[in-house]
């Protein structure tokens, strides 16, 4: 039987691929090529941001934990529990790690309103956890309305004394507001950190990658606004400015990126933007909807027989 001759060019290509794989394998063995550690703290919040993260598509969660980072700790998703989980969390402070924090920080009664675990018999409050882990991390990313400015947790009357993550840390905190934060905004920021370091931030520490332009300036209904054609109730396809749309004061890329794996966003579903990604949400974004506006519109009344 004749032995099949492989094309020499193809042979050379196979050799190159093998060399690369061997190099990666060696570097991993030597500890030169390592995935950075990611710690995710769920503080005084609803855990909406970790759920939003699981909805990520490009990249998705599987890619995040297998290729991007070594996901060391998260209250909802890690395999270990109880003391073992807390030990994993405490042990990470000796190594280099990126910290993602969602949820505000309850400060009343020394933070006893929010306990994230028990370690060696002592309760670990959210306040203690963020203070300890926040100062030592290489980067701190505050995700979601609550972590960036207090958000829903700090809404009036704020019985637990909730504050933003930045208020309890003296170092720089990258802020990704949103209720919840879009998975792309977090994964994109994380990817930028892993590849090129800290992304360009605006004056409020939000990455310009995602928070540069007002929704109003990218709204598909902008021409209705400019022409003064306003909707009078939900479900209409014109500009919802008179109903209280907060697109003009919110800086995110919702109109182009959209949600739930790029399917839709509130305005295109005929409901106004409530400004969930702007500082001040929710108290300062109220009313989310109003029918008592600057214009009286007479709708056709059905004649009663």
């Amino acid at each position: 039987m004749n032995k099949t001759n492989i094309c020499p060019e193809y042979k050379a290509r196979l050799k190159t691929a093998a060399e690369l794989i061997n190099k990666v394998r060696d570097e991993i063995k030597k500890g030169v090529l390592v995935r950075k550690n990611l710690v995710w703290l769920e503080l005084t919040g609803c855990s909406g941001n970790i759920i939003s993260l699981l909805d990520g598509a490009n990249p998705d969660f599987k890619y995040l934990i297998s290729q991007m980072v070594s996901f060391v700790y998260d209250n909802s998703l890690m395999a270990s529990e109880g003391e073992a989980a807390m030990e994993q969390l405490m042990a990470i402070t000796d190594k280099e790690y990126i910290l993602a924090a969602e949820g505000a920080v309850a400060t009343k009664n020394n933070g006893l309103y929010n306990i994230i675990g028990r370690f060696k018999g002592e309760p670990v409050t959210a306040l203690k956890a963020i203070s300890m882990l926040g100062e030592k991390a290489s980067h701190v990313i505050a995700l979601g309305a609550c972590a960036t400015h207090g958000g829903v947790s700090a809404a009036n009357p704020n019985p637990a004394g909730c504050v933003s993550v930045q208020s309890v840390l003296s170092r720089k905190v990258i802020k990704l507001p949103g209720c919840p934060c879009h998975p792309d905004w977090f994964l994109g920021t994380l990817a930028h950190i892993l590849l090129y370091g800290e992304p360009e931030l605006d004056s409020k520490d939000r990455p310009l990658l995602f928070y540069s332009t007002l929704i109003h300036d990218r709204c598909p209904r902008r021409s209705f606004f400019d022409q003064g054609i306003f909707a009078t109730r939900l479900g209409e396809s014109t500009c919802m400015f008179k109903l209280g749309c907060r697109g003009p004061v919110t800086r995110t890329d919702c109109p182009v990126r959209k949600w739930n794996q790029y399917v839709n966003w509130p305005v295109e579903d005929d409901t106004p933007c409530i400004g969930c990604a702007q500082f001040g949400f929710p108290d300062q974004m109220e009313p989310f909807i109003t029918y008592n506006t600057t214009r009286v519109v007479k709708l056709i009344q059905k004649k009663e027989k």
């Binding site: 008592n292 506006t293 214009r295």
Partner: protein, 149 residues
């Protein structure tokens, strides 16, 4: 205006014919998908009818965009009490006072629903403005309607 009315009436008649056709199709089809598409089309047609009828009503009442009939003050002078009427509700325009001048924010994008970051219109917001927008060139872009007395 008459021509506009004729156009609108023609359009309304057209939409009625289209929705009639839609309903006939709905009777005929048994496929859920087709039914949903037809229902969505009906919904869009209803929206348009509503929009057109609003136009007609507005024309017949001769209400100008954004403003309703109000008793005239002394040439744009407002007391605090008078200013409170212009809170952007019940068809009233939205006015705010800063540094003694009264500005019209009815159609200002940042004042959707006559509110801005938790503040409502019809008030003197000099203090709030200074604490947030000091040094920013915002006031010179706003329309002045009078002064605060």
């Amino acid at each position: 205006m008459r021509e506009c009315d004729d156009e609108i009436c023609k359009r309304i008649k057209r939409i009625i014919a289209e929705s009639d056709n839609c309903i006939n199709l709905l009777y005929a089809t048994s496929c859920i998908c087709t039914k949903n598409v037809l229902l969505y089309q009906l919904k869009t047609m209803l929206d348009e009818i509503n929009f057109l009828s609003c136009l007609l009503c507005k024309q017949s009442e001769q209400i100008q965009a954004g403003y309703s009939e109000l008793p005239q003050q002394n040439q744009g002078e407002f007391t605090i009490k008078e200013l409170a009427k212009f809170n952007g509700k019940d068809g009233n325009p939205a006015y705010v006072a800063v540094n003694g001048l009264v500005y019209d924010v009815t159609n200002n994008a940042a004042w959707a629903a006559a509110s801005h970051f938790g503040l409502t219109a019809g008030k003197d917001l000099t203090g709030e403005f200074a604490s947030c927008h000091a040094g920013q060139a915002i006031l010179n872009k706003l329309k002045i309607t009078g002064k605060l007395i």
